[in-house]
């Protein structure tokens, strides 16, 4: 499957989904005005990928900031991953800065509500 690369901008995150290298990373800032529009291709790509996923998928969130509109789209991504985690090995890796308690709280919130393997990685 073709990888999905989206360069970061000052208000949208970088996306690096590359099944060949088994890399799945969303990083940087997610402050788009229209989060649905930004995440639409991301969700579409993911849906395709999950039809024939790698044996193991570690999905990494390395976000510095995200707005509430993005929070909802991230919820969508996680729900989709949760759905497929019954058929294949999927882990969420939630990265956060050790001083950024709010980012840890946001990650824990998702982890609590989802039935999926969830790791927290402090930096």
């Amino acid at each position: 499957m073709e990888p999905l690369f989206i360069e970061k901008t000052e208000d949208t995150p970088s996306i690096n989904f590359n099944p060949a290298n088994n890399v799945f990373v969303i990083a940087d800032r997610s402050w788009p005005e229209n989060a649905i529009e930004f995440y639409e291709p991301v969700l579409k790509w993911l849906e395709e990928y999950l039809k024939t996923p790698n044996q193991k998928t570690a999905f990494e969130f390395k976000l510095e900031y995200f707005n509430t509109a993005s929070a909802k789209q991230i919820a969508k991504i996680l729900l989709m991953l949760e759905k497929f985690s019954k058929q294949t090995d999927i882990t969420i890796r939630w990265h956060y800065d050790k001083d950024d308690v709010d980012m840890l709280t946001s990650g824990s919130r998702y982890a609590k509500l989802l039935n999926i393997s969830y790791e927290f990685i402090e930096h």
Binding site: D11, A71, A75, L79, V101, D102
Partner: protein, 375 residues
């Protein structure tokens, strides 16, 4: 229940707003000016000027004037400027197709007469004479040890093509405030003329005093756009000191506040794209107060009030549950709506949301939202 009475200043805020919101650009900054802050103020101004179809020549000139004013502030800023009352003021406005840059900074009392005499000479000269005077000052090396020797002021007069307005106000035995204003014609296509004028220098001086009294650090009153949002946030972030967590909280809350205006605000003036709004920061002993104001349609008021009161009535646990429930509720969301913004601000700030509403006419009201963030 939160005591809203202490925030009973919607008249004051609306006055500030309506005084300035139909400016194409309105940006008032008060505080300590570091290199960091002046850089981000310039970046913001640049973004704002990019939004209007301005010629390269005018853009470069206005940019030069801004830079020169800001450098005057940092260069002549006396070393011991710790008191908040002594901080400088910087105002950028665009009104009726004219830019106005006003600046006020501290200078030593014994420099006042020198600066005044320079300004008197500059204002007495026409464009040709100014050019000659510039060369003369440049060649005879009449530079002061701070650099300059009035070259900056001469250049501003040359580039703006207008007289400089100025005034001095003695603060104490050591310092005075030096205020000046430069105006410049815009080359962009004219908008519909507006009735009210830009802040005169006299008003800027009075205004400065008002900001000091109310401990307002920064006011940004303009059309709110995603494109300029980041530059404003950067300026704010650099002005507020605090831990990494605090900085991140401020950034997150500002994004929600600004995007509230961008998405949900209204613009009664159909000729202009984007929503007008006002934003300011108040410095209090233990908290920073972040305030935003914008138009909303009257029919939305009840719903909005109910939501704020509901969110304010929750304790920490209920808030968390409410957030989680909304987070995974994808019903009835349009492309801009998440329904989470207010809850998020309430959680991140750790304090109740305060609001004020002022009815403007049959269709619109002015809605003000205050968020206090603990330092």
């Amino acid at each position: 229940m939160e005591d809203f009475s202490k925030y009973n200043n919607e008249e004051f805020i609306y006055e500030l707003f309506s005084d300035s919101h139909d400016n194409d650009l309105n940006y008032i900054f008060r505080g300590q000016f570091s290199q960091n802050i002046t850089d981000s103020i310039l970046a913001l101004a640049e973004k704002n000027i990019e939004q209007v179809a301005e010629t390269l020549k005018v853009r470069k000139r206005i940019y030069f004037i801004l830079l020169e004013c800001l450098q005057n502030i940092t260069r002549y800023q006396p070393n011991k400027v710790s008191e908040i009352e002594e901080s400088a003021i910087f105002v950028i406005q665009k009104r009726n197709n004219k830019y106005f840059v006003s600046s006020g900074n501290l200078i030593y009392n014994d420099k006042v007469e020198y600066v005044r005499s320079r300004l008197e000479i500059i204002n007495s000269l026409d464009q040709d004479q100014l050019n000659r005077y510039y060369k003369e000052v440049l060649s005879n090396g009449a530079m002061t040890k701070e650099g300059g020797g009035g070259l900056g002021l001469i250049e501003m007069a040359r580039k703006s093509g207008q007289k400089l307005m100025y005034d001095f106000k003695k603060i104490d035995e050591t310092y005075s405030f030096f205020y000046y204003q430069i105006s410049m014609e815009s080359a962009a296509p004219a908008n519909t003329p507006k009735l009210s004028a830009a802040l005169s220098l006299e008003k800027v001086m009075g205004f400065h005093n008002g900001l000091v009294q109310k401990n307002i650090l920064l006011i940004y009153s303009s059309i709110f756009l995603q494109e300029t949002m980041l530059s404003v946030i950067t300026v704010v972030g650099k002005q507020l000191n605090g831990s990494v967590l605090f900085q991140k909280k401020i950034y997150n809350i500002l994004v929600e506040l600004f995007q509230n205006i961008i998405r949900h605000g209204k613009n009664p003036d159909k000729h202009i794209e984007g929503n007008p709004g006002i934003f300011f920061i108040v410095d209090r002993p233990d908290t920073y107060g972040l305030t935003c104001g914008n138009y909303i349609v009257n029919e939305k008021i009840n719903n909005l009030e109910e939501r704020i009161l509901l969110i304010n009535s929750f304790d920490e646990k209920k808030l968390e549950n409410f957030y989680s429930e909304r987070l995974f509720n994808f019903d009835k969301i349009n492309k801009f709506e998440s329904g989470l913004g207010l809850i998020d601000m309430r959680i991140k700030s750790g304090s109740k949301l305060c609001y004020e509403i002022k009815k403007v006419n049959e269709t619109y009201s002015f809605f003000i939202l205050h968020v206090s963030v603990i330092k």
